[in-house]
Symmetry: C2
Subunit: 205 residues, 2 copies
Amino acid sequence: MTAAEKKPIDFYFDFSSPYGYFGSCRVDEVGQRHDREVMWRPYLMGAAMKLTGSKPLVEREMIRDYAYHDIARAARRHGIAFNQSPPPFPLPSVAPCRAFYWLCDRDPLQARDFARRTYAALFVHGRNTSEVDVVVELASDAGADGDETRAALGDQAVKDRLRQATELAVERGVFGAPFFIVDGEPFWGNDRLDEVDEWLASGGW
Amino acid sequence: MTAAEKKPIDFYFDFSSPYGYFGSCRVDEVGQRHDREVMWRPYLMGAAMKLTGSKPLVEREMIRDYAYHDIARAARRHGIAFNQSPPPFPLPSVAPCRAFYWLCDRDPLQARDFARRTYAALFVHGRNTSEVDVVVELASDAGADGDETRAALGDQAVKDRLRQATELAVERGVFGAPFFIVDGEPFWGNDRLDEVDEWLASGGW
């Protein structure tokens, strides 16, 4: 298939998910290897969890302990900087999500830079990325105007943009983070990114 | 380390789990590759799910649809016979679990043969492996005496054996299927067996 026929990898994530962070550090390399664009699509995972009846990790005895262990182990495995163990999770991710889509509609690369900075701020530097002031600072670091970002976070059109993005994700069957869809195939989990890679290399099975 | 110092891979599974079935088809090869014994340890996953607050897949909208798709895809990926899509899940697994431990205390290899036959009966041939008659037939196929197996399924000592095995699994933090523990490291999921393999090859990270 020609480059124009190659569909993108849709990369869904929540800004408070450690596994989403790991996925964000790895997905672009997979896209490049197979000449696929990667569409970064943050959403509010809590909205999907209401539908699936899932509870946050911290409320799930045994699974929580396993996940904390596995998260730190996954960071070591992939050589990803990670200094928050146990992770500050869950954390409201409305503010960074709104900032992302506001930036993305102007400059997708800037939005992606902002997303990377936001994940690093939370999981490497321990910043509280649910706070507006922190989000404005991170957007500024990515090259956006601070005052405009602050105004955008309270703008109804931006709020609607995020709500719509979350609804579309849920309609597509997305419920976790990271969650990848490529050529119609859904893959849930950072640990499935290798499978995405194999799928694209082999043409599927 | 010498062979005597090498700890076994503990392989926990539930007889009604399709992913547990896939794990059962693959785990012995990983053990052989690293000169590790594999201890097959069926348990009642429902007991752990009460603690973790997890609901069965079929009750979890979105996750159910994804899982059905992923289960069929995983079978194709690993070249494992699988003819029940969507899988007959969940199914009570008390009877095959009791039969397993009763057999295991006499002949671990026969118990393992019985376990393989039971998984194939459910996921390849569509038999109802929650039924005593089916379990007795499968134990007979594995070489056990049918009447003795039938009597064992109602024996209080055998019931206690399974309850104890399930309690021990939960105490070790096991809550899913398949679930592997080796050298103190827990790995949850058929999709993590490759990671077990890497862990044993590299000595961990």
